[in-house]
């Protein structure tokens, strides 16, 4: 209840993911009304109730399908208000094994991580520009920093999304739209459950949410949730291709 209704509305896209849920809690704690958007919005009701009870803010649920770009305009029109902040946590990893063999699986991964998020943020950017304010937050991935054999389909889609966010930020460098790219590194979520992740490199969803929340307050462009990832990816990017292609990362 602290600071209720002190912030602009926040739209959480892909609201069922653990990072999205943590973001919704964090912004609600900061007094922002929250709009949760995902497929099958009725199943978001328990989360909406929880957030509302904990933080005393208004929480609404909205049907949203990242694979239906034709529906994006109508989706945004139907929201109670145009949000002040939009967090895009839409994503689908699949398994590399399936993604490299099955075109349908690869297409779904490419569309979920790149096409849908990019087109939706583009739509929001137009509306934010028209209004004269707004913050777009795209949760991309360190996997997009360099294509690796172990997950290049997902990585390529995230690389596209990262480039798109960079372009939007460049376009709006003089305002009025702010664009933040988030590169979380490993995160302990449903997506990574059962994987053997190194604890020092693995953030909790709440940590990602806190980093994102602080970035909106401090005006950051790119958020590395755990700074060590910035170093790791700098090294991986710097490897000459002749060496890199022989690595197994």
């Amino acid at each position: 209840m602290t600071g209720a209704a002190t912030g602009g509305a926040v739209l959480i896209l892909g609201a069922r993911s653990d990072i999205a849920r943590a973001c919704a809690q964090r912004f609600a704690q900061g007094g922002h009304p929250v709009m949760l958007a995902a497929r099958d919005a009725a199943t978001l009701a328990p989360d909406a109730t929880d957030i509302g009870l904990r933080h005393g803010v208004t929480v609404t649920c909205h049907d949203f399908d990242a694979l239906d770009p034709e529906g994006f305009a109508a989706f945004l029109d139907a929201l109670p208000v145009l949000p002040e902040i939009a967090v895009c946590a839409v994503g689908l990893m699949g398994t590399q094994d399936q993604n490299q063999r099955d075109p349908a699986a690869a297409i779904r991964v490419l569309r979920s991580n790149f096409e849908g998020p990019a087109i939706l943020l583009a739509e929001l950017a137009e509306r934010f520009e028209a209004r004269g304010s707004g913050t777009l937050i795209g949760i991309s991935s360190v996997a997009g920093e360099r294509g690796r054999a172990s997950n290049y389909v997902y990585g390529a889609a995230k690389a596209g999304f990262t480039a798109y966010l960079s372009g939007l930020r460049n376009r709006f460098a003089r305002g009025p739209v702010r664009v933040i790219t988030v590169l979380p590194g490993f995160v302990a979520t449903r997506m990574t459950e059962g994987m053997d992740l190194p604890p020092r490199l693995t953030a909790q969803p709440e940590e990602v949410a806190e980093a994102i929340f602080q970035a909106t307050r401090r005006g950051r462009d790119v958020v590395w949730v755990r700074p060590v990832w910035r170093l790791i990816m700098a090294i991986i990017r710097a490897l000459p291709e002749g060496i890199f292609k022989k690595t197994r990362l």
């Binding site: 989360d47 109730t49 929880d50 904990r54």
Partner: protein
């Protein structure tokens, strides 16, 4: 396999740990054989450890409903008291009963039927419950209360998770006017003075004593008895009245490393306890203390359980019935002081009457203190067990890691009834912990 332990860090057991995200996944986990639910891991010993099937309730952490007319909050069992306070103290509500840490799950608080500094008036945690939802081994969920399925309700309070998995609860909160506690500190130079201070202040909503368990001779049992009540707005200094729920934020400190075993020895213990006693004497009288410092002084040091080093520590907590309490406490304190053992923070508390099937409290006095985990402590605790038994006392399973089955059943026959019930109903094959196996429950 994940190595798990309770808060005392002894024993540590490799456990097959799962963390289901919904009721279906939880039911599937229970179908895999005898299971125990685990919340925040704040029971001290092996209550929430099962090598074959430990089920984390961390994902069951939603607030479900709140009725401001009655103060009734419906929550899932993985929600912590810290989260309840963060959400509802700013709206003027506080838990009716809270243990000495806010980092407990509601499920754990119910399973242990924890008590707080107001037990003599408010009873144990169960007294604030309207109902609980419990999942059985077959995945069916039963809503139990004083009126419906009351057997399940009363067996579950204090049963350490051995009647099923607590899923949800309806919890009554108490209205408060501020986030402050009006505290009065009464130095008591001896055990009998401490008991007199408790008996003379039964109308104080909260009371607890820090007791110097290293003091000997005439100073045996010297204590700082701390009384408290929720401060009203008129108790606050004018500057604080406008925002009565805002209290200064505590700097989070943490103990980053295990202390070596020699850091705690009779000398440092005596020095610390003496300093604490004299500091307490200087602060005697009335003061305003914020809720966090008053109820949860140890929460300020994250990982304080590392104070005792890698081998962990053991907690001893017993309750003695009122008529035998003075003699029993005297015998316990003599045994502890004679060994030069004892801990930084030993706690003495007056319990009120308690009518429940398995819960730990009874009308009398409870003594709680911790010891480093080593051979001497184990020997001393066996001796303390016998003194407790000789004075008609009993033990708190939320703290226990080493009691033997014979002592438990001899001092508290309720557990034998419970074990029989579990055999008859099949619960024994469905829910088990390292503790239930050790104690033949």
């Amino acid at each position: 396999m994940t190595q798990l332990s309770g808060w005392g860090r002894y024993p540590r057991i490799d456990c097959a740990l799962s963390a289901p995200r919904d009721a279906d996944a939880l039911a599937r986990a229970l179908a895999r054989g005898p299971a125990i639910a685990r919340g925040m891991g704040r029971a001290y010993g092996d209550s929430a450890l099962n090598a074959a099937n430990t089920v984390s309730m961390g994902h069951f952490n939603r607030f479900l409903a709140f009725d401001p007319a009655t103060g009734t909050l419906e929550v899932e069992a993985g929600v912590t008291l810290a989260e309840v306070i963060a959400a509802f103290l700013p709206r003027g509500w506080f838990p009716q009963v809270t243990p000495g840490t806010k980092f407990v799950s509601l499920g754990g608080a119910i399973a242990a039927d924890v008590h707080g500094k107001n037990h003599h008036g408010a009873g144990s945690f169960g007294a604030a419950l309207d109902w609980i939802d419990v999942m059985g081994a077959d995945g069916t969920v039963t809503r139990a209360s004083h009126d419906t399925h009351s057997d399940l309700f009363h067996w579950t309070l204090g049963s350490m998770g051995l009647t099923g998995v607590i899923l949800r609860a309806g919890l009554r909160l108490q209205p408060v006017e501020s986030g402050w506690i009006a505290q009065t500190t009464l130095p008591a130079p001896s055990l009998s003075a401490a008991i007199d201070a408790f008996e003379g202040n039964l109308d104080a909503p909260y009371s607890v004593a820090w007791i110097d368990c290293t003091a000997r001779g005439p100073a045996l049992g010297r204590s700082l008895v701390m009384l408290g009540r929720h401060a009203g707005v008129e108790d606050l200094p004018p500057a604080a009245r406008r925002a009565p729920f805002d209290v200064p934020r505590r700097r989070a400190r943490s103990l980053p490393v295990d202390l070596p075993a020699f850091a705690l020895n009779p000398l440092t213990l005596r020095a610390f306890n003496a300093a604490y006693w004299w500091a307490g004497n200087r602060k005697a009288g009335a003061a305003l203390v914020d809720w966090d410092r008053y109820f949860y002084p140890l929460d300020a040091v994250a990982g304080w359980n590392r104070l005792y080093g890698r081998r962990g520590f053991l907690q001893f907590q017993c309750v003695l019935p009122l008529p035998a309490a003075a003699a029993g406490l005297d015998a316990l304190l003599r045994a502890i002081a004679a060994r030069g053992a004892g801990s930084f923070l030993a706690v003495l508390k007056r319990f009120g009457a308690q009518d429940s099937r398995l819960s730990f409290p009874m009308e009398g006095y409870t003594l709680a203190l911790d010891f480093p985990h080593n051979r001497e402590s184990l020997t001393l605790m066996d001796r303390l067990d016998r003194i407790t038994a000789d004075h008609g006392g009993r033990f708190y399973l939320a703290k226990d890691a080493r009691l033997d089955a014979a002592t438990l059943h001899a001092t508290d026959p309720r557990w034998s009834d419970f074990a029989q019930m579990r055999q008859k109903t099949g619960l024994a094959e469905a829910f088990a912990s390292a503790q239930s196996q050790r104690l033949a429950l």
